[in-house]
């Protein structure tokens, strides 16, 4: 941390997200295109924090109904039954089925909530200009980015079940409104991760280092 690394932005340079080419924006113009691959060039993702926050709030808003509303409605000859994700976990919990139950619990309940919390933590720290645990925070970001898509497994399995189990009139499975919200949570958190610019973590840290140096000098 003690070493202040020079950043491209400080030197008025832009690095291309597509091909990594370093270029200088045309004089007067703030934004441009990569001369090599024609990618949009920005110093930092525009309104990154705001966009991430918006997506995160939306994801958090969807997370509540996703867990309270039924995701699957099973109709058998004896009547119909609606289950939420948590009820599914409880239903799967048995001496032999507990690993499956745990998978559902992790993939569908813990990961989305962990993602929302992690992104919230990153947003707050970046906004407040925190300079501690920078490397940890970036690692957290990468983990969130990688693991995020796996939450889609639940949606995937549910839609498969719905399309496969259509034994009218004996038995049928219908998606519940919770499934829609759950998919929205997954998509929105992925968008939030996408719109977050991890370089911001270093920007503030570096800026503060510089400030400190200026103050002590």
């Amino acid at each position: 941390m003690s070493v202040t690394n020079p950043t491209a932005m400080e030197h008025g340079l832009q690095s291309c997200h597509g091909c990594g080419l370093l270029s200088r924006p045309a004089p007067g113009a703030h934004e441009g295109r990569c001369p090599r691959c024609d990618e949009d060039l920005v110093f930092r993702k525009p309104d990154s924090l705001q966009h991430t926050l918006a997506y995160l709030v939306a994801a958090a808003a969807c997370y509540v109904p996703a867990n309270l509303l039924p995701v699957l409605t099973t109709t058998t000859a004896g009547g119909s039954e609606s289950d939420t994700i948590m009820q599914g976990v409880v239903l799967l919990w048995s001496p032999t089925g507990w690993p499956l139950s745990l998978i559902v619990l992790f993939a569908s309940i813990m990961i989305p909530s962990a993602k929302i919390l992690a992104l919230g933590y990153l947003l707050i720290t970046v906004k407040r200009g925190s300079i501690t645990n920078n490397a940890q925070r970036v690692r957290l970001y990468r983990m969130v980015e990688i693991i995020g898509r796996w939450s889609m497994v639940d949606v995937f399995v549910d839609t498969f079940t719905v399309s496969l189990i259509q034994l009218q009139p004996l038995m049928s499975v219908e998606p519940g409104p919770g499934l829609l919200f759950f998919a929205a949570v997954v998509v929105l958190t992925m968008l939030a991760v996408e719109s977050f610019d991890p370089r911001l973590i270093w920007d503030t840290a570096d800026a503060k280092e510089t400030q400190k140096k200026v103050q002590y000098a």
């Binding site: 705001q50 918006a54 709030v57 994801a59 808003a61 969807c62 509540v64 009547g79 919200f181 929205a184």
Partner: protein, 531 residues
Amino acid sequence: MPDHDPSLPPVPESKAVPKKRTRLSLVWVIPIVAAAAGVWIAVTKILEKGPEITIVFSSADGLVANKTKVNYDGLDIGMLTSIKLMDDHKHVIATAAMHPKTKDFLVKDLKFWVVKPRMSGLNITGLGTLLSGNYIGVQLGESKESERHFVALETPPLTGDVPGRIFILKAPELGSLGTGTPIYYRQLPAGQVVSYELDKDGGFLNVKIFVESPYDHFVTKDTRFWQASGVDVSLTAAGLHVQTESVMSILAGGIAFENPTSDAPQVPAEANTGFTLFDKRATAFEPPPVDPRAYLLVFKQSVRGLSVGAPVELGGVNIGEVTQISPQFDANKMEFSIPVMIQVDPQRYGVKFLGWDNDKETLSIRQKIMNSLVARGLRAQLKTGNLISGALIVSLSIVPNAPPATLDWSQNPVEIPTVSGGFEAIEDSVATLLKNLDKVAVDARGTLTNADTLMLSLDKTLGTTRGTLTNADNLINNAGTMIAPDSVMNTELNILLQQGGDAARALRILADYLERHPEALIHGKPGEAKQ
């Protein structure tokens, strides 16, 4: 815009405002939409949350919280959310979250019960619950008073929501009736027994029945109800009667009702009208008494086969019935007699009276008529009503040559003189007949002895005849060589042959006769027996 005027004194420059960077991004539409969707869902959920009710059950058997549904007419209108034991440790109290639309039918007389497989009589209900699990059935109430706490019924109400009316039958005994026993109108199922209870004084049962619409319109004040349970076999003086309703009712019992045929307009009876439940159709349709009169008959003969309820007939037409049979012993005369009480009501059974004004009828006229009838030979006698069962009936008829008798009007009831009849009379005749037969048998024995003698003599005669013929043969042989055509011998031979021919003819006649009347060998020729 004019150029800067150099003649003006120096003017301070305005502060440059950097272009606002923090504008609201369009991306905020997404969380707003998400929040709106969430709020909308929450609001609809809250609005969907209907009233909560409690139902007390006697047992939680088959009830599962968050699984057992409240079902009205095949539609789920609620769900049990919790089941707890009540403080008395005998009942369970279930809380049910109801559909919001049910708010206005949660009234005081709403009925709940557990629907599970049941069998009553031949009806099996609730088979669907074998797969779906038990659910709670609902029957709508009519009260306007709102209510949130209910006590479930032990058994499902039978009347359902079918329109119809409830009537109450007074039955001496339950028979094969039970809750759910079908009611038949012209052998169509028209309702069922809802409940039954002993009357307060224990004298009879009050059977509550429900007659469905439109059959309930056929229940009038005159309607007769009778037990159509099983097969009604009655062996009466009138013969063997088999009366059944349907195969269903043979197996499971039932009640049938019908209206007596009448021209009067049929006004449907009010709900909860009381009726008598008769034990069979015949009794149900007996006409009501018009003018019953009791009489006493004293029989000296056996009344075996006569029972209370046996008909009293006049010229083969039923006009009354036997009401009491009670033997008595007269210690003075040292003899048994059997007084039989009868009740006669000719008008009830449709006997028409000619030259008789019922309104002007007085006791004296009635007495006068009865007196003259008895003087002309009106007697009561027992007659066999049914040869197989030996059941007796009382027959009133004019008996010619009856010993004279009079009525004693000081007695109550009045005694009508009797003559022996029925089996007693037959027994008398048979005894006489047997006596005669005995005599005939003795005669017949004598006849047989005679016939025997006759046969013996006939045998002798035949032997003689055969000898005669042999002699004649010899004679002819001799004569063939010996006699000339015109000799004395010839003449004598002719005479002899003639006699032989006569004997043969006589024999033939006898043989012919025996062929036609072989019994003559035993009985002899008619007229001979007497000798």
